[in-house]
Symmetry: C2
Subunit: 436 residues, 2 copies
DNA sequence: ACCGGTGCCGGG
DNA sequence: CCCGGCACCGGT
């Protein structure tokens, strides 16, 4: 018979029992929310066991490695954000991409190698691959939105690589995502993206939103009370760089510079000046070091970046409830947290984090975050797919995810790519309206 | 320090211990497979608890109802195949479809209700909705394929209902599926389906009405049925019914009757004659009654249907290891099992199951199975999506699922729909190659 | 009441 | 080693 234990499943959460989770110091700061909820003694499996979906007793074996890891003689890391990778799929996909790339390269080489690297600062160290996708035969109707007078708005600086030639698409999937890249094998620098699946029929026009009055169901518990308008696919793409000028305003921003007030999709931007001082004094900035993929940020780095975000970016898109504090935000939605870190890293420079380090981290984070976000746009939708959703209903789970996407859309990666794919913008739009 | 509590988490699902699983009579027939390992005392949650994803102790509470069910005063059913439904999504989607349908109906009513019921036997009792999809602008190269000289191949009587006019379509989603329909509330007779997302392009020809017969409009619980015509990327269009002639060959079949051997996408078909007698004597045909959605089949019905499949359909597409026996096949992949039942029901007629009953069951199964299959095409892919799949790699889990899809593709529903969407065929193709 | 997410069994 | 599933916790 089985003597499966599990006796330990401790269950009981909060309450008196506290554990150390990952031993890091934790100033629980009785945040206003509910009653204090000490950390999370949640039992979690180590990364290796998660990958193998195997039973893990790391939680018991105190600070020691879990049985499996010990047996394998590998390091037993505990990371509550770790997500397993689908090895087989990833391998197959990489193979295919590789093959495809090689083929294309051998076949004809004049692939445009946009050289204009406006950014005078420093050349992207790691770099994130740039694959353009632009199957939709029409450009986004930037119309309604004033043609951002501030941005150079170059058509397509891209070093494009149209994808999939003689491929047969099983179905028009908008999927994309390259998973969080945990760090299984050595890690491959490139790591493509390829968002859409080419469909082999003309497809006249793709229906632009056109609000459907259906606004049934839920709503965001907080935040975002913008008037609706985004009636287009949030058009605009554009490259990055060169926007030093207008402070932190990212490329995607479509400022209605029609002379009036700053606007973001019809929403007034609360004057970048009003830096919400935020009661950071209350330890809301406290946090433990965290890592995504290969990148790890120390408590101090996180703190300083968060403050940077609050001061420089948040004012422009005050949708995140920064008062929740770093730790809580991270718990609620790691992706949001990382998007914030990512955004802050854009041009950060401080004693704690040099510009160079920031840049390095920024690029390192790029692919991971990109994948995570891409996954976000597909994952939740697919989850609900079973019951079929016309307009995916975007239960992109919490609003947090939406926030992350919006932030990302506003301040996309400096190395272009991804956001260049208009589908992303559409998604952004959809999400935006989903929030209301 | 945590004083884990709970008395009740007792756990232990042990092995040797036998339990009653689902109280149904069970002829466990020591299946040959391995040694020992009688049935599956696996601890399973009751349907209600599954739906609510709540802890269920039905396994312990012997034959009695689980604690939760008892508290709620509802029947505590145990069904290992039960899959929870995504209520919110389903509701939203139904609402939308309803609205859409109503709108369309009010806008212009000339709904086409072709009457010609070729099948002289009996009128389809339940019927499944029929939504035509026909976006591919090109006709299939029926050329190379010999037009199975047996089929009359009438042009297109189509009784269609174009769908979704000014719809949103955030992205070209091929999704579909309306989940297994467990049997939530009272249950609505209509229960539409809407396979694809209509990309509102013109769509060339639309089968004009003709008909006579019942031109019911408005809220008709059930809708027209009609022969279908799908043309797919794989080429081939075709009508259903009337293929009695060429035995059981379904419409999607593309026989390369170039004089050589039978082929199915390049794979040789082992001569329909060779009816693999199969050692049914060994109790491989043993099984317990099973149900999918609202449909339930008795042991005898299953047995006779399975034999029918083995004798008439299997020879044409010998991809299923029928020697595994009914029970095992069902365990390995319920969908495969149901696809087999579904296919066999097509034209079944026996003492155990009259033609009428078969038809009735066939139509009842249609939507459930359709949903399940649709889900299959999206679900697994999405699962893998995280690691990004260009051509979804189709790890549609086990081969069994693929088999189910192939069978379904070969012998699509008599009432058209869904398979009318060429993407399905593409999928079929893709899957096929996935198998090798 | 729902359900996202996580642990991890069982099978390939 | 991989992973589909499935039980269930914890948050809404
Ligand atoms: Zn472990
Ligand atoms: Zn470990
Ligand atoms: Zn229960
Ligand atoms: Zn119950």
């Amino acid at each position: 018979m089985n003597q499966q234990n599990e006796l330990e499943n401790t269950a009981s959460k909060q309450k008196g029992t506290r554990k150390r989770q990952n031993n890091h110091a934790e100033s629980n700061s009785a945040n206003n929310h509910k009653v204090s909820s000490s950390k999370a003694p949640k039992k979690i499996a180590c990364t290796e066991c998660r990958q193998q979906k195997a039973k893990c007793d790391a939680h018991d074996k105190a600070p020691g490695p879990c049985t499996r890891c010990m047996k394998r003689g590998i390091e037993c890391r505990l990371n509550s954000d770790y997500k397993r990778t689908f090895k087989r799929a990833k391998i197959a996909q990489m193979e295919k991409e590789y093959e495809q790339m090689r083929m294309k390269l051998a076949y004809q080489n004049s692939p445009v190698v946009q050289s204009q690297n406006i950014n005078p600062s420093n050349p992207p160290p790691i770099s994130s691959t740039v694959i353009q996708r632009n199957n939709s035969p029409f450009l986004p109707p930037i119309s309604a939105l004033s043609p951002s007078a501030t941005i150079p708005a170059q058509p397509v600086p891209v070093g494009s690589v149209q994808s999939i030639p003689p491929y047969f698409s099983p179905s028009p999937f908008p999927s994309s995502a390259t998973r969080m890249i945990p760090s299984p094998p050595p890690h491959h620098p490139p790591m493509r993206h390829t968002p859409l699946k080419e469909e082999f029929y003309p497809i006249p026009s793709n229906g632009p939103p056109s609000s459907s009055a259906n606004s049934q169901f839920s709503s965001s518990p907080q935040i975002l009370k913008s008037p609706q308008l985004y009636q287009t696919a949030l058009g605009k793409v554009s490259e990055d760089k060169s926007l030093f000028s207008n402070q932190y305003l990212g490329p995607s921003v479509v400022r209605v510079a029609t002379g009036e007030q700053q606007t973001f999709f019809g929403k007034k931007i609360p004057e970048p000046r009003s830096v919400p001082k935020l009661n950071l004094e209350e330890g809301l900035a406290e946090c433990s070091p965290k890592s995504l993929g290969e990148v790890t940020l120390s408590s101090d780095q996180i703190r300083v970046l968060f403050l940077d975000f609050v001061a420089c970016y948040h004012p422009m898109l005050p949708i995140v409830d920064i008062n929740k504090g770093i730790e809580r935000l991270h718990r609620l939605c790691p992706i949001l947290f990382w998007t914030i870190m990512f955004t802050a890293l854009r041009r950060h420079k401080s004693a704690t984090l040099s510009k160079f380090e920031a840049q390095k981290l920024y690029f390192s984070l790029t692919s991971s975050l990109k994948s995570a976000l891409a996954e976000l746009t597909i994952s939740p939708i697919t989850r609900y797919a079973p019951s079929e959703l016309e307009e995916p209903i975007l239960n992109v789970s919490s609003v947090y995810s939406v926030q992350a996407l919006l932030i990302y859309t506003l301040w996309p990666p400096l190395t272009s790519s991804l956001s260049a794919d208009n589908s992303w913008n559409s998604i952004g739009l959809a999400l935006f309206q989903a929030i209301h």
